[in-house]
């Protein structure tokens, strides 16, 4: 190869990062501006999740952990909003939210601003839903809340005593809840809920995590410890089920195209690599 210019295979096998990122950026942006309306099939795990909420008895109490950070909001936020739509639409489910992430209260506010529960469903804060705020300590907090919620926090996230809210009547510990849901960008939090609530109290549990964390949560689901594990990227499917299309459905087009682009990159790289080997010029 010395003394000769780069062959086409050298170029294709070593495409500069700038080109890779540039094409990826274009593929990201186009479907966001002009949604393509590609089909979005409903996967088994999302169906399981939907059914678990549908099967809750009237008057059921659900604990939700807004355990994700701002960085994960674009992926998990749409899923959280879609699930809230599902639960508040029923009108007979009480939803109590806490956060094991310090940004949880702000992200919950963001979700509520998108959801508009009062306007849409006539839900009343403190009667149908509430946020008891950020509780520091990670898994220690989960264990403490499960053992005695009132000893861990006595106010909601605005500082108002919990006794003033009717939704908190009879809520004492993990036994008071019919379902636990966690949205998290840190898989340890999800595993922590399995250890501290499902294992100790048997509370049914579902979680939505980043797509890259789903394989690590699957052992728990296959062992029956988690009802359903979904990724935030499946928010489009949940939005389809609850008939409230929003950011999730829009992202589905982006996900499809970018995944296909990644495969194209892999194919190009391998074709170039094999071609160089056959030419006897591989590095």
């Amino acid at each position: 190869m010395s003394g000769q210019g780069k062959s086409i295979w050298d170029t294709l096998g070593d495409i500069p990062r700038e080109v890779l990122y540039g094409v990826l950026l274009v593929v990201f942006v186009i479907p966001m501006i002009y949604p393509l309306g590609l089909p979005v099939p409903i996967s088994a795990n999302v169906l399981k999740w939907y059914k678990a909420v549908e099967d809750l008895p009237p008057g059921a109490v659900v604990m939700i952990d807004f355990g994700y950070s701002g960085g994960g909001e674009p992926e998990l936020g749409p899923m959280a909003v879609a699930v809230y739509h599902h639960m508040l639409r029923r009108g007979d489910i009480k939803v109590i939210c806490m956060s094991t992430s310090i940004e949880g209260p702000q992200l919950w506010d963001k979700a509520m601003a998108e959801l508009r529960p009062e306007q849409r469903y006539g839900a009343v804060y403190g009667v149908d839903y509430i946020n008891i705020g950020y509780i520091a300590g990670g898994e220690t907090a989960m264990a403490a809340v499960g053992k005695d919620l009132r000893a861990t926090t006595s106010t909601d996230y605005k500082g108002t005593p919990l006794d003033q809210y009717s939704i908190m009547d009879g809520i004492v510990d993990a036994h008071s809840f019919d379902l636990l849901i966690c949205y998290t960008t840190g898989g340890d939090q999800s595993e922590g809920w399995v250890r501290q609530w499902y294992t100790v109290y048997g509370t049914p549990y579902m979680c939505s995590v980043l797509a890259m964390m789903v394989p690590t949560m699957l052992p728990y689901m296959n062992a029956g410890q988690i009802i359903s594990v979904t990724s935030g990227a499946q928010a489009g499917e949940m939005e389809g089920l609850v008939h409230v299309p929003a950011r999730g459905i829009k992202s589905a087009d982006v996900i499809t195209l970018t995944h296909m682009l990644c495969v194209v990159y892999v194919v190009i790289g391998n074709v170039a690599y094999i071609a160089k080997k056959f030419q006897g010029g591989s590095k």
Binding site: L20, K110, A136, V200, N222, C262, N270
Partner: protein, 228 residues
Amino acid sequence: MSTTLKKTIPVAIVFVVAMLVMMDYFIVTPPVNEAGKSWTSGVVKDLQNWGIILTAFSLGFGAVNLFYFHSKHISRRTPKQWMFSLWLLLVIVTFTAVGVFMGPTSTSYNWIYNASYFALSATVYSSLGFYMTSGLYRALRIKNIESTIFMVVGVIVLLKNAPALAVYFPTLSAWGSFIENVLTTSAQRGIMIGGALGAISLGVRTMTGIETGFLGKLTEEEKGGSEP
């Protein structure tokens, strides 16, 4: 400082607390109260609440540390650093002032959070997608049998996770599900079991005072390990 103060007492505290928490988690030790809870339950509840307080305190400690660290840079006018340190401290003060005087759930606080930290955080997180793409392009090459398997599995899972393709190529869903539910799950289980056993081993070493890293600087004699 004597070995008792530097090592024995902290290790004894770790041992006692760990034993209490494990007893409460795994067994119901008598005497049992009328609610059916063992005597450890109340003790562990207090310990857990103390843990929450300590964690919350460490957040404040982190802020103090930031002030100390960056104030030094500002006072020394460290080249290429002191302006950033000054900016950081200004932002900390702004967030703190707004949070304290207007409330952490106020519209103003939410605005500055959304306009600054949230936007930046989501941006940096999103940059992962680009890094993963270049990593995939470079790493998934047919160099040997292992990397070929790696590539084939990676491509199948990539295509399976593309929602629209699953509609047109349902076989991808079946293959992807097999890879996830059988191959990946079993490998993850192995890693999790190994990791858990390693953590237990480290826990036992910590509780018995063999692992002294968390105690900071100890002499060889204080560590009680083998002589150099």
